[in-house]
Amino acid sequence: MDLILYARAAPNDRLRAWLGVFAATAAPALSWRLNGALVVPTALRPVASVRPDAMLPPGMAAEDVPRAFTGVYEFSGLQPDTLYTLAVQAGNQSATMETRTLPSAVPTEFDRWLNVLLVSCFHQVEDRQGLAGIIVSQLQAVAKPHLTLLVGDQVYLDLPTLQDFPDDVVWLASKFEQDYTLNWRGPLGYTGVLAAAPSLSIPDDHEYWNNFPHASPFIGNSLTPAGRDRWRQAAQAMYAGFQLPYPAQLGEPVRFEIAPLSFFVADTRSNRDPDRRFIMSDDAHHRMEQWVSDTIAQKQFGVFISGQSLFTKASGKIAGAVGDYALPNYDDYGRILLRLQRLADAGRPALCLTGDVHWGRVVTATDIRTGRTAFAEIISSPVSLVTTIGLDQVKEAGAILSDLFGPRNPWPRHSDPEDPPAFLASEPLQGRFPCATLHRHKGNQAVLLGFRQHGSGIEVRITYWPITRDATVARPSVIGPITLVGAQENAA
């Protein structure tokens, strides 16, 4: 048995700790110390097996199955932006971490920033040497992140592509637990990224399977409703054990504030309708409506976080069915955008953060009614590009040939960033927000966002950190700062 601790994002007067107990056969008794003093935290998820009893091998006693147990614990009554040492003891094993509570406000000083690490899409197989963790941990020397946003595909449960997965929830749960354990426990894996700062996760399709909840032609288990249901159950059990931002329930959005920023973290995957009528549940839509109203009333700046881009067009029928449907493929995409438009109506510019697409991009959308930047979207993807059998080999062969006759392509497997649509959501928003691309970024990457208050606005400095050992492309790209300034109200 060994113990791993990671900090979870929490309101600024408390800490939340995710605890992993690996290779255990029962939930251990725990004792906690905060700055050396014994404490009894609130258990948001009492430490428990990530595999429910129904997903354990039949015919074996639970106490004979070594597996992962996880819990999430909350320590309240703390000071914002303060370093704490947290230790947990279970039997003769212990784990310790140092972590900071989130600050209560975005800094105003010249030399201080609120640093938010934005990452998505990590395929451990393509990063066996743990380069992502090494580079992210080295960021601490430049600008230590206060918060990490894990915006989807932290695991690829549906890989390897060519493996035929038994249509058995017990087998699936065991396989998924191994995938998560590899990334969360290491060695290497995603541990360096998870340890960088308190984190907050949302799932995208590979926390389930490619194009969840829709059938995928490459995944035999997804071709029948019963197969999809078994896979979903196993995947959700693992998501709950490793990533779910407790106390939120699966699919629920998470809100938090670092004044004057107000974050709305939307799970745009778990509750998708198989008939593509909606991305989020009615409850999530109501919460978003309330968040928009509160953001306007309190003159804050909204940060909307989703697993996929809002600045895109609907996938075609074949591309959507074979690859992945985009948010505009769902009937409630317009509802989401119309809500965000309310922020623009009230002169409150908003930031959209996402991943998913395997390239990076910074886009702004100007409100033609005010001339102001109404929205900016920042995409960070991937940390480690997933293997695509066949296509990767073709691209690499092509790169070898083209390198003979021209400049070397340092990212032969990666796609070029796509252009945004000419107008953000032109149908529901009627051409009000023309888009402009500020930056395109190809290759493995992590994005560090720096926020600073300036006047009554917010400055956002965006730094793309290439994840590579290739010195020719390892220099970070700094974009901005982009300035978000409140527009005049009742502007016509």
Binding site: T108, F110, D111, G347, T373, H454, G455, S456, T483, V485
Partner: protein, 243 residues
């Protein structure tokens, strides 16, 4: 084109008053008449000069105006705490024509401390304005202290060099405003007031500030400040020279 946004206000700010110059009145006496000392307020002085440098700076800012006419203003500076003899009142600025030369500007990020007396002559500076900002001088001075050590935030030295190449017509140097480089003194003030929580140039979404943008803020952005729960800029001005 410079991305500056026009205010939606239908009428200019009534807190900005034109105060004609009296006969033979120099700028120091005109400014003395406008002073309203307050712990909660800080003064910004705008001047519009007639030197060749000032002419080029005023023309450069025509791109910030919707009519593309030259600005009334060539320079902006922070007015320090008024001295007993007003002429010796300090000003904090990044002048492109410093009376003592530039010496070696990096240690102060280009910031210069001068005296208001150098702007006394109404022949050299026929246009004058004193703007009152609802921010304490202590807050702004604290920000200026940090500014001197934070070239990474705004490189005042780079702005000096870029603007001198334009003003002096070096090689093919173009108008730095069109490339997003603010005029050094105004850009410094915009940063310092921003740190103190006040938007000096709400019409701009970048750091490419200039005296004209500050002028437009005081004249046209009063409603915006009220909407942001902040007092609007106020002040007095006199324009004795137009181009």
């Amino acid at each position: 084109m410079i991305n500056i946004i026009s205010s939606k206000a239908s009428a200019p700010n009534t807190l900005l008053q034109e105060v004609p110059r009296r006969e033979h009145e120099d700028n120091l006496r005109w400014l003395s008449r406008q002073l309203r000392p307050s712990e909660d307020q800080t003064g910004i002085v705008l001047v519009g000069g007639t030197s060749t440098t000032a002419f080029r700076l005023r023309v450069a800012q025509s791109h910030v105006r919707h009519d593309l006419m030259p600005s009334y203003w060539s320079h902006a500076m922070l007015l320090g705490r008024p001295a007993r003899s007003f002429a010796t009142t300090p000003v904090y600025e990044i002048s492109l024509e410093p009376p003592q030369g530039f010496t070696f500007p990096p240690p102060t990020n280009g910031l210069q401390q001068g005296r208001i007396s150098q702007y006394r002559d109404p022949e050299l500076y026929p246009n004058i304005a004193l703007l009152n900002t609802p921010v304490s001088l202590a807050q702004v001075m604290e920000a200026l202290e940090s500014f001197q050590r934070q070239r990474a935030v705004l490189d005042g030295v780079e702005l000096i060099v870029r603007w001198l190449t334009y003003v002096w017509g070096v090689a093919r140097a173009g108008n730095p405003l069109l490339d997003g480089y603010g005029m050094p003194s105004a850009a410094m003030l915009e940063i310092a007031f921003g740190v103190a929580g006040y938007d000096l140039t709400p019409g701009l979404e970048s750091r490419s500030s200039c005296p004209e943008a500050i002028w437009q803020a005081v004249k046209w952005w009063h409603e915006y400040y009220v909407q942001q729960n902040r007092p609007a800029l106020s002040g007095a001005y006199y324009v004795g020279h137009t181009l």
